[in-house]
Amino acid sequence: MNDYPGRVLITKIGYDGHDRGSRIVAAFLRDAGMEVIYTPPWQEIDAVVSLATQEDVDVIGISSLATDHLIVPDLMAALGEAGLSHIRVVVGGIVPESEHELLKTAGVSAIFGPGSGRDDIVVAVRNCVTESRQNRTFA
């Protein structure tokens, strides 16, 4: 269905509490018509996985300001174990170039640095929604 808006969980894992970025990106996606499930920061990985299951999301957006992206591979593994491999994960925030590989290898779909445009983010997340739906169908 083309008019399916997509369900996106915007959250922060790890130990940083700064949420300006996650709040703004949540507003971007909501403005673009997506259904956004938003959590405060400092979520445990297990809590994110169970929320993703309950809310039946297509995409998880992780906001990372202070190195929390370094445990995104753990989140990817936990999603896999929970049978949620169809969920696409997007990371936004401060991820140095030298660590993009680490995230890509772990299966992260896209990485957005500071200053990324609203449209680029929306388009990428939409594509992730589509991919996630397709993977779910064939799973």
Partner: protein
């Protein structure tokens, strides 16, 4: 070889233009306005971040010095608009307090020692984010340890971090939110080294739990009422036992970084200061007993004149609040002492060397505002915790501004500027409007509980983002001149994983080697203090730290006693 300019410029014939002709032509505003309108074409409406429209020119029509004594006064005299001390930076430059936090306690000590050798005049300590979350290093993934702050979970860790540092001779600041375990460890170390507590100077520079609730989500550490109780106990304890320590730093930094405008930030911060002061006064402390130990902590954004006006206005407002609203009589209670940190929000990860220019502009604004201590950001702070080379440049920036640019020579050099004085008045008005909103909500504590503050910040953050998207706010390398090649991407700081693993192992060994019954008894006393309003919780935290209890253990117990906070999602 450069020549002196006057030698190269031909000297004009003195007889050509009689000086009288210029003198007789009276300068008038109408003529200027006509010329301006004719030449500017379609003029732009320019508003600063706080929403104040900025004109092209300010004149005596905007501001005159008629009310000099009431509104400005002399430095060191009420209302302190021009500075809180008679001599200001000419007498003693601001304290150079570079915030450092990385790796293991030993790695911190190494960096701190270098920073002091490079001319830093005070200590500032930032703990690892796992500490902010309220847990010890043995409960966190090693990948996240020490990446953005130092892992300090016990008195032993603090001792190692401050090895060789003369605690009785240097001022210390700890980023140590409620329940102030780091300060408890610091006092434990002082006791060990035989340093009397009255020799300990410095500031608990993250003591403001309200700002943490608003912008850093400390609800996972302690509940809001719990944090309030610990805060007042901490102030009472410090006033009695550590008299030269500033137990209160009211923090505007987080709120501005989260998106509040400079005027909103100052309004929220001053309202928070009122809340803290009234909480202490209600507990029986005299205004003049506590207020001289109140300090403030702010971000200095790159909105240059707006920042200067923000701080000048704040000094005036605080002096009046302290006297008229809080009942202070001692001039020391009225002095708005503040630390400024150049804002990381304005820094960009794109073309990161440009950040050196941004930090310089922010630092100049801070210095011209008359701050008491300053941290300048490293250019790589938009990418990671500062690495050594960039940290050195940040430190040198302060020396250059002090020694080479001579920014310390004159007190409040912008005082009397038609623009700066007008803007100071306008910012004062805006700040007071924000404070009125908070008063109407029942004070800062209530306003935060209701989410009033969080909603205002979210709205301003989004409005700023939209300005950036429209290109109304240009950011070089991001939405303007963005296609220049990024010549320099600094390698991010990452701690040595094997050192950290060894540290965690040693920490576990330390825990099992302690006198367990002593530790348990000390932790049980936390509960006893929490249950009894007449006891001072912070005194029992100091005792628990001294007996070997860890940061995580103390917080875990206080969480049971004082409650876990509920996250407030405000959209």
């Amino acid at each position: 070889m450069s020549k002196i300019a006057s030698e190269t410029v031909p000297v004009k014939s003195k007889s050509a233009e009689p000086a009288r002709a210029v003198k007789s032509q009276k300068s008038d505003q109408a003529t200027w306005k006509n010329a301006y309108d004719a030449q500017i074409g379609e003029d732009r409406v320019i508003k600063n971040r706080s929403g104040i429209e900025v004109k092209a020119l300010y004149t005596p029509d905007d501001w005159s010095d008629e009310s000099y004594d009431d509104e400005l006064g002399y430095p060191g005299q009420a209302p302190y608009t021009r500075g809180i001390y008679a001599t200001m930076h000419r007498g003693r430059a601001w304290t150079q307090r570079q915030l450092i936090g990385l790796g293991t306690p030993e790695e911190y000590n190494e960096r701190l020692t270098k920073s002091l050798d490079q001319g830093a005049s005070a200590i500032s300590l930032l703990p690892c984010n796992s500490g902010f979350r309220g847990i010890d290093c043995d409960e966190a993934p090693t990948a996240l340890l020490g990446t953005c702050g130092t892992v300090i979970n016990s008195i032993e860790d603090m001792d190692a971090a401050l090895k060789g540092v003369p605690l009785d001779q240097i001022s210390t600041a700890v980023n140590d939110p409620s329940p102030f375990t780091l300060f408890a460890f610091l006092l434990g170390v002082a006791k060990r080294r035989g340093i009397p507590f009255d020799k300990i100077t410095g500031t608990a520079n993250q003591s403001d739990y309200i700002s943490h609730f608003v912008a850093n989500h400390m609800f996972y550490r302690l509940s809001l009422p719990g944090a309030r109780r610990v805060f007042v106990d901490h102030v009472a304890y410090c006033r009695e036992h550590v008299p030269n320590w500033n137990p209160v730093s009211v923090v505007g930094q987080h709120m501005q970084q989260a998106g509040a405008t400079p005027a909103e930030t100052m309004g929220f911060t001053l309202s928070t200061a009122i809340q803290h002061a009234e909480d202490c006064i209600n507990r029986g402390m005299e205004p003049d007993y506590i207020l001289p130990r109140f300090t403030f902590f702010f971000d200095i954004s790159i909105s240059f004149f707006e920042e200067i006006a923000k701080f000048r206005a704040a000094r005036r407002i605080w002096a009046r609040i302290a006297q008229e609203r809080l009942g202070a009589k001692d001039p020391r209670s009225m002095r708005f002492k503040f630390h400024g940190q150049t804002s990381g929000v304005d820094l960009t990860s794109q073309q990161p060397l440009n950040n050196i220019a941004r930090v310089s502009a922010q630092a100049i604004a801070g210095i011209l505002s008359g701050l008491q201590s300053m941290h300048t950001d490293s250019y790589d702070e938009a990418i990671s915790c500062p690495t050594e080379g960039p940290a050195q440049i940040a430190s040198a920036t302060q020396h250059i501004l002090r020694e080479e640019a001579h920014l310390c020579d004159v007190i409040d050099p912008l005082g009397g500027s038609y623009y700066v004085e007008t803007l100071t008045d306008q910012m004062e008005e805006k700040i007071l409007e924000v404070m009125e909103v908070i008063d109407k909500a029942g004070g800062m504590y209530e306003a935060v509980e209701q989410g009033v503050v969080q909603r205002m910040i979210g709205k301003s953050a989004l409005a700023h983002q939209q300005k950036v998207e429209r290109g109304d706010e240009k950011i070089i390398g991001v939405n303007h001149l963005a296609d220049h090649e990024d010549a320099h991407e600094p390698a991010p700081y990452r701690p040595d994983r094997s050192k950290m693993e060894r540290h965690v192992t040693a920490f576990k060994e330390y825990k099992s080697a302690r006198n367990q019954s002593d530790v348990l008894r000390a932790i049980d006393r936390l509960t006893k203090a929490a249950d009894n309003e007449d006891e001072n919780i912070f005194a029992s935290i100091v005792d628990a730290a001294d007996k070997g209890a860890t940061h995580g253990e103390i917080i875990a117990r206080l969480r049971e006693d004082l409650g876990f906070g509920q996250p407030l999602v405000v959209e």
